[in-house]
Symmetry: C2
C-alpha cells in the first residue's frame, strides 16, 4: 500500500503553484471552455505535480467524512439569492464540502432554528444573508464556534468576513452612462430610503451628475419596487425627463410599459437604465440597459473566505470584500449612437 | 431529570391525530395565516397532546445530531428548480433534517461526484432531478443504501418513489380554455419532439380539440423554447389562428411581442396561453394566461415520501405521485367574456 500523505493538496495549493486564482483552477477542472489553453496547461501541470484530487468524493474518502457549510438565505426562489446559492454550491463542491441550504423564508424564528441546526450538525461555518441588521443573533452563533461570512451586507472587519456589491459604484456607472448617451435631465426612480441599497445607488447617481454642470437630477420614490409601481410612476411624470435610472429592473420594466402606453418612445424620447440584470431585463418590450451584479462570484467568494478561516485559523485575516458591478448595454439607451 | 421518551412525536403523528395532512401541520406552525382557525386549533391541540416539538433545533438536541437529505438539481437558478428547492427545504426543516444542495450544473461527472459525497456524508436519502433518463447511476446509488425519490420524472414504482406534474392534463386545460374562450383555429407552438414534456403537452392539446368537431389544431416546432424563437414564429405565421398555446412562457412572451410588432392584438385578434407561470408571464406587454405547476408542492412531497421510506422502511410502499397543473387567468385570453 502507498503511504498516506500528511496533508492532501488543496485547491489553494494548486492555485498558488500555478499562479492563478482558486476560481481559475475550478474553471479548468469543471468548465475548461472558459479558460485559455495556456493557463489551463499551467493549472494541469500543478494538479499533476501536487497530486491534487479534485473530486469531493475522493477527498472525502481520504478523510473519512464530508463536512458541512450552512447557507442561510431569505428565499431561494428570488433570483438574486439563487445566484448566490449557485456560486456558493460551486465553491463548496470544489473544496469538498456539503452545502446545507437553509431557507429562512423571511421568518426570524426560522433563521434562528437553522442556526441551532447548524450548531448541532457541527457545520464548520456558515454563509449568511441575514434577515435583519441586528447583529446579536449572528454574534451568538459565532460564540458557539461557528465562523460566519455575511453576504450582501458589509460587516466591521474585526467581526468577520463579508461580501457585498458596491451599490454606490453601481448608481454612478448607471447615471454616467445616461450622461454619456446625452441625457441631461435625469430622474432616479428609487425604493424607500430605509433600504441601504437604494440610498447607496442614489448617492452614486449624485456623484455622477456632479461631474456635469449642465445636468440635473431628480428623485421619485416608489412605495414598492414592482412593475406596477413603475407603471404608475410613468403615468404620473408631468415634465418628461430625458433619462431615467430605476434602481431595480422591475421598476424599469414597469416604467417602460407605462411610457409606451403614453406614446413615449424609449430610448428616442426617454432613455432608461435598470439595475440587477434580472431575467425580465431582456424580455420587456424594449430590452433594458441595466447594471449587472457579479452575484455568483459573491456566493463563491463567501464560501472561500469562510473556508480560509476554517482551514487556516491562525493566518486568517478578516476581510470585507466589495464587488464592482458592471453595465449591460441593451436597447433602452442610445449607447451605440453615443459610442 | 425527566425520562427520555422512547420516540419523540413526529409531524406525521400530529397530522394523523388532527386528521390533516403534514403540509397543514407545517402551515399551522410556520404560516398560520394560511390555515382556517378551526383546523389550526385542532392541530395545536394535537401538538400539545403529543408534546410535539416542531423546531429541528430541539429535535436535534434530543437525538444528538441532525441527519442530511441530498437535493440534486441541474441548476438552482432555473426558477422551476428553485421552487422545487424551496418546497424541499421547507419540508426538510419541518422534519428536522438538513438539506444538502447539490448543484450538478448539467455535468454528469459532477452529479456522480455529489452521489459519492452523499454516501460519505451518510445522508439518509436523496431527492434527485436526474440529468439523463439513464437509470444506471441512480440504481447504483440505491444499492449503496441511499433511498431516492425522483423529481420531475416518473419511475416504475418497484424502483422507488417519484413526483411529477401531469403535462398531458396541462396541455388539455390550456386548449380547453382557448376553446371555452371561443377560439376554433388553434396552433400549438411547441419545443422539440425529444422533450417528454413537449409531446405530453401536445397530446393533451389534441385530447381537448377532439371534443369539438369544428375545432382545428396545428403545430409549429421551435428549435429552442426562447423569447427570440417565439418572436420569429409570430413573424412567420401566414394565416393567423385565433388561438395559440405555447408550451412555455418564454415562447408565449416572444409570440406576443412578435404579434404586437405586426399590429396583431392579443387577445382581440389572437388569444394566447403560456405554460409554467414564470415571472415573465405577468411582466410582458399583455400579461399571459398560463398553466401553473405546483412545483413547491412537488419538492415538499418528494422530501416527505423520502422520509417516509427512511423512517418507516417496513411499511413504506413506493408511489409515483403525479400533480395536477392549474390555469392562471390573465389578459392574453378573453376569459372573462367567455365566463
Amino acid at each position: 500500500m502507498d503511504a498516506i500523505p500528511v496533508r492532501p493538496a488543496r485547491i489553494q495549493d494548486v492555485a498558488a503553484a500555478a499562479g492563478v486564482s482558486v476560481s481559475t483552477v475550478s474553471n479548468v477542472l469543471n468548465r475548461p471552455e472558459r479558460v485559455n489553453a495556456r493557463t489551463a496547461e499551467r493549472v494541469r501541470d500543478a494538479v499533476a505535480a501536487l497530486d491534487y484530487v479534485p473530486h469531493p468524493g475522493a477527498a472525502g474518502l481520504r478523510t473519512g467524512h464530508t463536512s458541512s457549510i450552512g447557507l442561510v438565505l431569505p428565499d431561494v426562489t428570488n433570483s438574486f439569492y439563487a445566484r448566490i446559492a449557485r456560486g456558493a454550491a460551486d465553491a463548496a463542491y470544489d473544496h469538498g464540502y456539503a452545502l446545507v441550504l437553509c431557507h429562512s423564508g423571511d421568518a426570524p424564528e426560522r433563521e434562528q432554528g437553522y442556526f441551532t441546526m447548524l450548531v448541532e450538525q457541527r457545520a464548520v461555518g456558515a454563509v449568511v444573508v441575514p434577515l435583519s441588521a441586528d447583529p446579536t443573533r449572528l454574534t451568538r452563533l459565532r460564540e458557539r464556534g461557528i465562523p460566519l461570512v455575511l453576504a450582501d451586507r458589509a460587516m466591521p472587519a474585526q467581526d468577520g468576513c463579508s461580501v457585498s456589491v458596491d451599490d454606490i459604484a453601481g448608481g454612478r456607472i448607471a447615471v454616467q452612462h445616461l450622461l454619456g448617451c446625452g441625457a441631461r435631465d435625469i430622474v432616479v426612480v428609487n425604493g424607500e430610503r430605509s433600504i441601504r441599497q437604494c440610498t447607496d445607488r442614489y448617492q452614486g447617481a449624485r456623484q455622477a451628475v456632479r461631474t456635469r454642470r449642465e445636468a440635473r437630477l431628480g428623485q421619485v420614490v416608489a412605495e414598492e419596487m414592482t412593475v406596477a409601481y413603475g407603471m404608475e410612476i410613468a403615468r404620473g411624470l408631468d415634465d418628461l425627463p430625458d433619462g431615467v435610472f430605476c434602481t431595480n429592473d422591475f421598476l424599469a420594466a414597469g416604467l417602460c410599459r407605462g411610457l409606451a402606453e403614453r406614446g413615449v418612445k424609449v430610448p428616442e424620447d426617454v432613455q432608461v437604465v435598470g439595475y440587477g440584470d434580472l431575467d425580465i431585463a431582456s424580455f420587456v418590450g424594449t430590452t433594458l440597459t441595466t447594471v449587472r451584479q457579479p452575484v455568483e462570484d459573491l456566493g463563491r467568494a463567501a464560501v472561500e473566505m469562510l473556508l480560509d478561516e476554517v482551514e487556516a485559523r491562525a493566518e486568517h485575516a478578516h476581510e470585507a470584500r466589495v464587488f464592482a458591478p458592471g453595465l449591460v448595454l441593451r436597447d433602452s439607451t442610445l449607447s451605440l449612437a453615443a459610442g
